[in-house]
C-alpha cells in the first residue's frame, strides 16, 4: 500500500471531551460572576420590597408572647433607625438582620433550617423518580416513534402533565392514606416523621420514607411527564440526524447508536430543565406540601403568608431566589460540560 502513515506519534486517546477545558474554566468563571450580579440585585430588591409593604412591622411583634423584652427592644431600635443605616447593616449581614419571626418569636433562620431538610428529602425523591422514569420513557417512546409503547406512554404522560398537583395529592390521600374501599390505610398523612422518633435512626428513616412517598409521587407526576415529553421530542429530532446513519454504516448496533449518539445529544434540553426545575421546586412545592401538611419550606411559606410574617417571608424569598440562581448556573455549566460547542 502506497499511503503509509508519515506520523508515528502516539495520538492522545482522550475520549472525554477535555479539549477545551481552558474554555470551560473561563465559562464557569463568567457564569459565576453574572450569578453574583443577579444575587446582588436580589438582595437589594429583597430589602426594599419588604420595606415598601404597608403596615407597622413593629406592631406585629407585640402580639408574640414568647419573645424576650431584650429582643423586642433590639427590633424596635433597628426598625426605627434611618433607612440608609438599616440598608448598610443589611448589606453587611443580610442573613442576620431582624432575625426574629413575628409569628413564632424564634430566629427565622432556625425556622427555615428546621424546615429545609424535609423539602430537600421531598425534592430529592421526586426529582429522582421523575428523572429516572421520565427520561427512560421518553427515550423509548421517541426511538420507536409511533410504536405501541409511544402511543400508550404519550397518552399517559399527557394525562399526568395536565393533572393539577393538589388534585392528584388529594386523590392519593383519599386512596392510600385515609383508605377507601379495598385500600387499607397504607401511608400516614401529615408531617414528615412520627413524633418522638430520631430522624437519623433506622426507625426515623422508615418513618420519613412513609411520610414522603405520597407527596413525592404527587410532585413527581407532572415533572415525570414533562421530562418524558421533552426527552421524546429531542429523541425524535435526533432520528433524522445523519450521524446516526454514519454510525450505523460503521457497524454499530441499534442500541449502541442510541446510547452513544442519540441519547447524549438529546439530553441537553432535559438536563437544563431538570436543573431549572430543582431551583423552582425548592420554593414551589407549596401546593403539595400544603395538601399533605408536609412541614417543608413550601408549607412554611404558606404559613408565613397567612401569618403576615414579613421577616420570615423575606428570608424564604432569599432562599428561593438563591436556589433558582444557583440551579441556573448549574444548568449552564452542565450543558457546557456536555456540549463542546458552547465552551468555545
Amino acid at each position: 500500500m502506497a499511503v503509509t502513515s508519515p506520523v508515528a506519534t502516539e495520538l492522545s486517546d482522550d475520549s472525554t471531551p477535555g479539549g477545551g477545558s481552558g474554555g470551560l474554566g473561563r465559562f464557569i468563571g463568567l457564569r459565576l460572576l453574572s450569578g453574583l450580579g443577579t444575587l446582588l440585585f436580589v438582595l437589594l430588591f429583597n430589602f426594599f420590597l419588604f420595606r415598601l409593604l404597608p403596615g407597622d412591622p413593629a406592631a406585629r411583634y407585640r402580639a408574640v408572647k414568647n419573645i424576650s423584652a431584650q429582643d423586642l427592644a433590639r427590633i424596635r431600635d433597628e426598625l426605627n433607625a434611618p433607612v440608609m443605616e438599616q440598608f448598610w447593616a443589611y448589606l453587611r449581614d443580610p442573613l442576620a438582620l431582624q432575625g426574629i419571626s413575628a409569628w413564632k418569636g424564634q430566629p427565622v433562620w432556625d425556622l427555615v433550617g428546621g424546615r429545609a431538610w424535609p423539602t430537600l428529602v421531598l425534592l430529592g425523591t421526586s426529582t429522582l423518580l421523575a428523572t429516572l422514569i421520565g427520561i427512560r420513557v421518553g427515550i423509548r417512546a421517541g426511538w420507536r416513534r409511533g410504536g405501541s409503547f409511544d402511543k400508550v406512554s404519550t397518552g399517559v404522560t399527557l394525562l399526568f402533565y395536565a393533572t393539577p398537583e393538589f388534585w392528584l395529592g388529594l386523590l392519593l390521600i383519599l386512596t392510600f392514606s385515609s383508605g377507601i374501599g379495598p385500600f387499607p390505610s397504607l401511608f400516614p398523612s401529615g408531617g414528615v416523621i412520627d413524633s418522638g422518633i430520631e430522624p437519623l435512626s433506622m426507625a426515623g428513616v422508615v418513618s420519613v420514607a412513609e411520610h414522603t412517598v405520597l407527596p413525592a409521587v404527587a410532585l413527581a407526576a407532572v415533572y415525570l411527564a414533562e421530562y418524558s415529553l421533552i426527552m421524546r421530542a429531542s429523541i425524535v429530532d435526533e432520528l433524522s440526524q445523519e450521524y446516526l446513519t454514519t454510525a450505523r454504516a460503521k457497524g454499530l448496533m441499534d442500541h449502541v447508536v442510541r446510547r452513544r449518539h442519540a441519547v447524549p445529544n438529546a439530553s441537553l434540553p432535559t438536563i437544563t430543565l431538570i436543573f431549572l426545575n430543582i431551583g423552582f421546586i425548592i420554593g414551589g412545592a407549596i401546593t403539595v406540601e400544603t395538601v399533605f401538611s408536609y412541614p417543608g419550606l413550601g408549607l412554611l411559606t404558606f404559613e408565613a403568608i397567612t401569618e403576615q410574617d414579613f421577616v420570615l417571608m423575606q428570608a424564604l424569598f432569599l432562599v428561593f431566589t438563591v436556589s433558582v440562581i444557583v440551579c441556573n448556573i448549574l444548568a449552564d455549566v452542565a450543558v457546557a460540560v456536555l456540549d463542546p460547542r458552547i465552551r468555545t
Binding site: 499511503v3 475520549s15 454514519t246 457497524g251
Partner: protein
C-alpha cells in the same frame, strides 16, 4: 493487513467477479395518499475492484436509496445485493462484518459528524466497534490518508472548529480507518464550497489509486462524474436507463434522457441545450411503457415515430438492464 487486502483485490481482478453487484433491486416506501413510492424499481448494476462508478440522475430518482440499500441500511422488497459473490444477509452480525468492508460518506459532513465527538472519537468509532488493534495508530494513519496532516493537530478538535472540507476529510478518515474495499459516497461534494470540491474529488481519486479502494459516487452532476468515474450508471425514476464506460456514456450517449442531461453540461457537450418538458417524475405514479415517455424529446420530436417505436414507447415496458454487458440503454430506439 494491507498485503492481504491487495492479494484479495488481485484475486478478484483475476476472477473477473465484481466486488459488489445488485440485481433487480426493488425498494418501496409508503408514499402519500396510501400510494406506494417505487424508489427503486428494478436496478441491476455492479462495481468492480478498484473501479470508480458514478450513479447520476435527477434528484428523487432513487440514487440515495440505491446507496443505502447496498450498505444494507434499507432492506429491499425484492432483489439481492451480492458482495464478492455472496448474497448480503441482514443478520446483525453479518451486517456488522460487511460494514467493515463497505463504508459510507454522506453529502453533508456537518450533519454526518456528531457535534459532541472529537475528530479522534469520530475516526476511532469504527475500529472500536470492530475491536481492531492499535486504535490510535489506525486513527493517525486514516487521518493522514485523508489529508489531515499532521494527524495530532486535528485529533482533539471538534467538528465546529473545522472547515467544511476538513470535516468531509474527517468523515472520509472515519471510513478509511476500517480499511474498506468499497466506499459509497452520496453527493460527497455538493454541500461544499466550489473551491474545495476539487480537493475532495482528487482525494477520492488518490485513495483509489493508492489503496485500490472501489468507489461508488452518487451525484446529480454529470460534470463531476466525467471528472472521476470509470463507469457511469444513469438512473431515471428508480431504474437504470443507461450504463457504460464514461467514454461511451458521455461521448456516445444512447438514451434520450442521458442526451438531455448532457446537453446542459457545456464542458462535455456543445449541442443545443434540451429542456425536458412535462411534470417532474413521481415514484408513486410510474408511467406505463417507457417510464420516460411523457418527457422524452425523441418521442415528442417524432424521431421515435419515424423509427416505428412510438407505440412501444407508450405501451411496451422495457426490461431491466443487466449489470454486465457493456454499453446499454433502456430505450426502444436502441434494442
Amino acid at each position: 493487513m494491507s498485503t492481504l487486502a491487495t492479494a484479495a483485490t488481485a484475486a478478484e481482478e483475476r476472477s473477473g467477479q465484481p466486488l459488489v453487484e445488485v440485481s433487480d433491486l426493488r425498494v418501496r416506501f409508503r408514499g402519500y395518499a396510501g400510494r406506494e413510492a417505487r424508489a427503486l424499481d428494478g436496478v441491476s448494476m455492479s462495481v468492480g475492484s478498484g473501479e470508480i462508478v458514478a450513479v447520476v440522475g435527477e434528484s428523487g430518482c432513487g440514487k440515495t436509496t440505491l446507496a443505502r440499500s447496498i450498505l444494507g441500511l434499507v432492506r429491499p422488497s425484492s432483489g439481492v445485493v451480492r458482495f464478492r459473490g455472496e448474497e448480503l444477509s441482514y443478520g446483525a452480525r453479518a451486517l456488522r462484518r460487511y460494514r467493515r468492508e463497505v463504508q459510507l460518506v454522506l453529502q453533508d459532513p456537518t450533519g454526518s459528524l456528531n457535534p459532541r465527538h472529537s475528530v479522534y472519537e469520530a475516526v476511532a468509532e469504527g475500529p472500536r466497534v470492530h475491536r481492531l488493534k492499535d486504535e490510535s495508530g489506525r486513527v493517525a494513519r486514516a487521518l493522514s490518508q485523508a489529508g489531515l496532516r499532521p494527524p495530532e493537530r486535528f485529533a482533539l478538535r471538534y467538528p465546529h472548529e473545522l472547515s467544511g472540507g476538513q470535516r468531509q476529510r474527517v468523515v472520509i478518515a472515519g471510513a478509511l480507518a476500517l480499511d474498506p474495499r468499497l466506499i459509497i459516497a452520496d453527493e460527497p461534494v455538493s454541500s461544499l464550497d466550489a473551491s474545495v470540491r476539487g480537493e475532495i474529488l482528487s482525494l477520492l481519486l488518490q485513495l483509489r489509486d493508492e489503496l485500490g479502494v472501489s468507489l461508488l459516487v452518487v451525484t446529480h452532476d454529470l460534470g463531476l462524474a466525467w471528472n472521476i468515474a470509470d463507469r457511469i450508471v444513469v438512473m431515471y425514476l428508480g431504474r437504470v436507463v443507461e450504463q457504460g464506460t464514461t467514454e461511451e456514456v458521455l461521448h456516445r450517449p444512447k438514451h434520450p434522457y442521458t442526451r438531455a442531461l448532457l446537453s446542459v453540461v457545456p464542458e462535455i457537450d456543445q449541442r443545443e441545450p434540451v429542456v425536458l418538458a412535462g411534470e417532474t417524475p413521481d415514484p408513486c405514479r410510474v408511467p406505463a411503457g417507457c417510464r420516460f415517455h411523457p418527457r422524452c424529446p425523441a418521442l415528442a420530436s417524432g424521431a421515435a415515430a419515424a423509427a416505428g417505436v412510438a407505440d412501444d414507447c407508450v405501451g411496451t415496458p422495457l426490461a431491466v438492464l443487466p449489470a454486465a454487458g457493456g454499453h446499454s440503454a433502456a430505450c426502444h430506439l436502441h434494442p
